[in-house]
Structures are given as structure tokens and as C-alpha cells.
Symmetry: C2
Subunit: 330 residues, 2 copies
DNA sequence: GCAATTTGTGCAAACGTTTGTATCTTTGTC
DNA sequence: GACAAAGATACAAACGTTTGCACAAATTGC
């Protein structure tokens, strides 16, 4: 591996000048800069980033910590952030916590010890507050939180507009002619689900309708099945589900009962999981705009934005499961 | 940030002894080791890994390069590898190429410049050979390839037993009583798909059956739909698909034609994508055992295994779409 | 009890870069 | 032509660790 010292020797100058030349310092004469660049290219020089990081006290790496990388949402966030950061000359170090608190702590330590220049984070379910983050990162390393955020922590935050999204999804069901609309609301320990529930209620209230049924539970197919049957018994003709998996379970349970979707019953899910487009009937879903969130988080870091909260609108994807009036094909 | 020098001063010894104590060198007296450890804990010392990496010439990071992290297969491989490597005290740096050659080159450079102690790699589609890998990594950084491998490159390789898997899937269809079995074979530029086609043919041959139809095309829902209709017209009663997405398309097309699955027609897909369990009928699929591959790749790296090829068996997951005789519920 | 060995520490030089300060060279001004 | 200012480069120290070698003290063998 060739070093700047070798380049300096080859040119009869000193390593410091070579360093400055390669880093675009205005303190070196254009002609020597060119000579250095030429020689560096010739000798196949590449900066030893480890040495550089040691000297500078930080690296050009941004750490991204997510609960799981195999979730459409998180991998898309990473994709969006990576693109913006790469364009800015930064690399990305991805860590997954598998929803575990101790893994989150470990990841934060690893990142800090590698002197990353920033951390983009969505918390593990097991994390109940942000004290560990503050403790580990200190105030040296900028933090950007997204989706699952703790408001007590400093730094930028990027979140979905869950209220607006759920409002739009519910309004869509109303416009399709459904009248007794229930919801599968998710667990209320997460801010996002609370806001979705509120958006649902607000849309109904604005249309002078009453919530027909509210099921507060985890968002998995089984709870969806059960809730759907109860909703049916209670006379519901539509459901807004705060998750796609529970919506899937609901559809399966209803189909087994011979309920026609969307003619007799409308359903909208949330998250736009990849399977929603593949089902039959395909599932209308409130998409999270994950790439936008990733991009926004990366930009917030690059801009050094402190403490601001960026709210990303959600997008309603209308497919068969709620398209009673056949607005268009999807 | 506290340094070993500060610990040394606090104890009236030298940094070198502190370093040796913390690294478990046998050259330090147990009593001083304990004193150092106690003081380090008290002062909240954590090793500056950047400095350590510079001095040692390498880091405790293993790079993993995959085409995309949002594929069930790749994220599971990463998960498996991560677990094994973390237990060995190594961190993981994940890069995605989005199937692009230049991104693969960039990723390799980043990893080498960060002095990773090894690279675990599955190639981008755009990569036609492995010369760039050899050139960038040299013979200093060990390489482990998985799934998409170039045999000309040195180092360990971990692959699926595609032949065995496709053989088992086809045999299963035969055992279920299907007789005119076709296949959706995938594109033949990939070794994996070639082997699956061969496994399919071998199973038929061993049962004295003829291939009823072979569709060589990309593995997406649309080609699956089309192929299924042609297969139906040709009198097929079953299909082995080298991908789940094309199997999904096939099922949808057949259902629209009123064909009952699995009574009239059996289908087995490949990859065990998450949606296969969610469909109705649920899709039997040949699972790739991604975690096993990840674990095997990590172990191959840790063992310093050179040049060996590890073949991981595939696992047939029987669900409704091929379960004509109702062997068991799934 | 002396030499030979083992055991435990210290010393100092790396690893390759960056950067504050000093030094040297050029240019411009009167 | 002298002097100041600016422009360009050199010097040297630092970043925090690791590690070969030297050295002292403690242990062993005869």
C-alpha cells in the first residue's frame, strides 16, 4: 500500500504538502497539486482512512440502526438514506437490533467507538426511553431519529404523518360508500398507532359517523382474523387496519365466511408491504414513503439540523380491497 | 474519552502494560491485570478502535456485500452471519450494490480502505467475472462468496444444493400423484437455475416420466401467468417453479380459469418468500435456508477455510398448493 | 551461591495521516 | 533596492494503540 510519504519522496516534497494537495487545501500551488495528483494516480495511491480517521477524530461513516433490515419499510429507509449520503461522500454502516435493547446499546457503542460522524436510528421495541442513547453518543455525535422516536432526545426527527394518513384512508372508505367502519388499531404503546387511531376517529367525526368498532391489539394475521369476525357480527361493512398483516388475516377470515370484498366489505391496510399488491383481492394500503423518510433523515444529518421534526406525508394506495366503485384498475 | 495512557498514569505504570493487560497478554502479572481492569472500569475506559485498527493494520469488522438487503434471502443470510460473527467479537458492515457493478467495486474499495478483516460477498447481476474482486482485495483480505459465486476466485464458497432441492420438489409432486409436470425454469445465465432445471429433469427421469413443459424465462408473476395458461393447454397437471413470484402468477391465472389447486393442479415454488405462507392457497416452496448459508459463510471465514465449497441442502416446505393428499395441515 | 532461566515492565518506535506554526520564496509597493 | 505582505512549503507534533526489544527482578537448577 502506497502512502503519502512515498508520494512525497518521489516528488521531493513533504508529506504535509501531499496531504494538503490531496485534500484540496488552498495553500498549495496549482502546479504542485497537479503533480501530486498525477503521481498519486500513477502510484495507485489510496488514502488510509483508518489513519485519517484517527488523526481527524472521526470517520466518514454514518451509522444506521434499525430493528430489522428485512422489513420493507426499514430497508427502503436505508436505501433512501444511503443514496443521499453516498452522494455526499459518506459510507453507511448498518446495524440491526432485532428489537432488542441490549443489541441497540451494543450497536451504539460500536458506532461511537468507530467514530462515526452521525447516527440515524429507529428504536427497538424493547427500548423504553432514550437515556442510553444520550449516554453513549454524548453531544459529540449527531443523532437523527426516525419513525420510532423519543422526543426527549436532542437532534432531528423524521416521522410519518400518521394522523393525516389514517384520516385519508378512512375518508376514502367513507367516499366509497361504506358506513359502519371499524379499525384494527395496533398497540397503543407506540405513538404511530395512537396517531393513526386519532386520524381514523377524526375522519369519521368530520363525516358525522361513529366508530363502529375499535380493536386494540398487535397487528398480526391472527388478531386480524378474530377482529374481522367480531366486526362482521357487529354489523361493520369496512375496516381500516393500522397494519397490513392484520388486514390480510381479516380478508382471509371474511372470504372464508363468503363475504365479498370489496362489494360487501371494504378494507384498507397500512405499510404497503410487498404482498399487498400480490394478494387477490389486492389490498389497498396506506404507504409509509420509506425512501422519503430515509432521504429526509440523511438530509437532516447533512444539514446539521438540530431538533427539528420533519413530517412525511403518507400515500394511500387504492387497490381492489376497498375499490367498491371501481375508480380505476390496479 | 479516557485513554490507556491516563489509566497508566493513574496506576503509576506504563501504557504498554495497560495495553497488554487489557488484551489478555500472558506477560502481565495477574494482580496488575486486575488492577488495570478495575481502574479501566472505574474510569469508564473504552478502547479507541480506530487507533487500534491503525496500529494493527486491520479492524474487527467483516464486510458483507449483497445485491439488496430487502430480499428475504439476503437479509436472512446477513442475520445468520451476523450472529456467528458477533459471537466471535466481530462487527458487520453491510453494503448493498443494487445489482450494479460499479456499486460493487465501490463497496469493495470502502471495505478494503477500512481494513476489514474479511469480506462476505454475493455478486451483483452486472458483475460478469471476479477480476475486480481479486484486484481490489489482493491476497491480504480473505473472501467468502455465497449463492452467486465465481469459481475462479480464491477463498471459501457457500451455495445451495439447487439440484437436490429441485429434485425433491419434483419428486414430491410425483408422490402426490401428479403426472404431467412442467417447470418454470428461470434464466439460464445463473448457475442456480440451471441446476434446478437439471434436478427437475432428474427426478422425472428417475420416475420414468417426461418433462411435460419447460418455460425458460425470468421469474416474475407475469411470465408465471402466461406459462401456466400454456401449460394448462398442454395438459399439464403440475408445475415446479424455480421462483415464488412466477408460481404466484401461475396460481392466480389458474384460479381465474376455475382450476382447483391442489385438487386439479399442483404447484411448488422456490425461495420460501414471506408471502408464500400468507396466500390462499398457501404456496409450497423450496426454501433456501438462508440463515444456514450465512452461518456457514461466517464460519468459513472464522476458520480461515480456503477454497472449499460448502453445499447447503434446501428444504421443501409443503403447504396447500401441492398437498393433494392432505398429508398434514400447514 | 552463582549462572541460567523465567517473569514482569518499561522504552520507544511505529501505524499514516492531519494541522499549527515556522520558515522560506516570491511578489508588490514606494 | 529595501521592506512588507502574501504565498507556498517544511517541520514536527499529535491522534491512541500495539509490540519488539531491552532490562530488571524473581525464580530455578546445579
Amino acid at each position: 500500500m502506497v502512502t503519502i510519504t512515498e508520494i512525497a519522496e518521489a516528488l521531493g516534497i513533504t508529506p504535509s504538502t501531499v496531504s494538503r494537495a490531496l485534500n484540496g487545501s488552498p495553500r498549495v500551488k496549482p502546479s504542485t497539486r497537479e503533480a501530486v495528483e498525477k503521481m498519486a494516480a500513477e502510484m495507485g495511491y489510496e488514502r488510509n482512512v483508518v489513519a485519517s480517521n484517527l488523526r481527524r477524530g472521526r470517520s466518514d461513516i454514518v451509522g444506521i440502526i434499525v430493528p430489522r433490515i428485512n422489513r420493507e419499510f426499514f430497508s427502503s429507509v436505508i436505501g433512501g438514506a444511503e443514496k443521499v449520503l453516498n452522494e455526499a461522500g459518506l459510507s453507511v454502516l448498518i446495524c440491526q437490533t432485532l428489537e432488542r435493547f441490549d443489541a441497540e446499546v451494543r450497536a451504539l457503542r460500536t458506532l461511537r467507538n468507530n467514530r462515526v460522524s452521525g447516527v440515524i436510528l429507529s428504536h427497538a421495541i424493547e427500548s423504553r426511553d432514550g437515556s442510553h442513547v444520550a449516554e453513549i453518543l454524548g453531544d459529540q455525535i449527531p443523532l437523527v431519529q426516525f419513525d420510532r422516536v423519543f422526543s426527549e432526545l436532542p437532534g432531528a426527527k423524521v416521522v410519518n404523518d400518521n394522523f393525516q394518513g389514517a384520516y385519508a384512508a378512512t375518508k376514502h372508505l367513507i367516499e366509497q360508500g361504506y358506513r359502519r367502519i371499524g379499525t384494527l388499531a395496533g398497540y397503543m404503546t407506540s405513538e404511530a398507532y395512537v396517531q393513526r387511531l386519532e386520524g381514523y376517529r377524526a375522519a369519521l367525526a368530520d363525516a358525522s359517523l361513529e366508530p363502529a368498532a375499535e380493536f386494540v391489539d398487535t397487528i398480526i394475521p391472527e388478531t386480524g382474523r378474530e377482529a374481522a369476525l367480531q366486526a362482521l357480527a357487529a354489523g361493520c361493512d369496512a375496516l381500516y387496519s393500522a397494519g397490513d398483516f392484520s388486514a390480510l388475516g381479516a380478508i382471509q377470515a371474511l372470504q372464508e365466511k363468503g363475504v365479498r370484498i370489496p362489494e360487501d366489505f371494504g378494507i384498507v391496510g397500512t405499510a404497503n408491504e410487498s404482498f399487498t399488491a400480490l394478494m387477490s383481492p389486492s389490498l389497498s394500503s396506506l404507504a409509509l414513503k420509506a425512501s422519503d423518510i430515509g432521504r429526509a433523515a440523511a438530509r437532516a444529518f447533512l444539514d446539521g439540523a438540530s431538533d427539528g421534526e420533519t413530517v412525511i406525508p403518507m400515500e394511500l394506495i387504492i387497490r381492489q380491497s376497498s375499490n367498491k366503485n371501481n375508480l380505476w384498475q390496479k
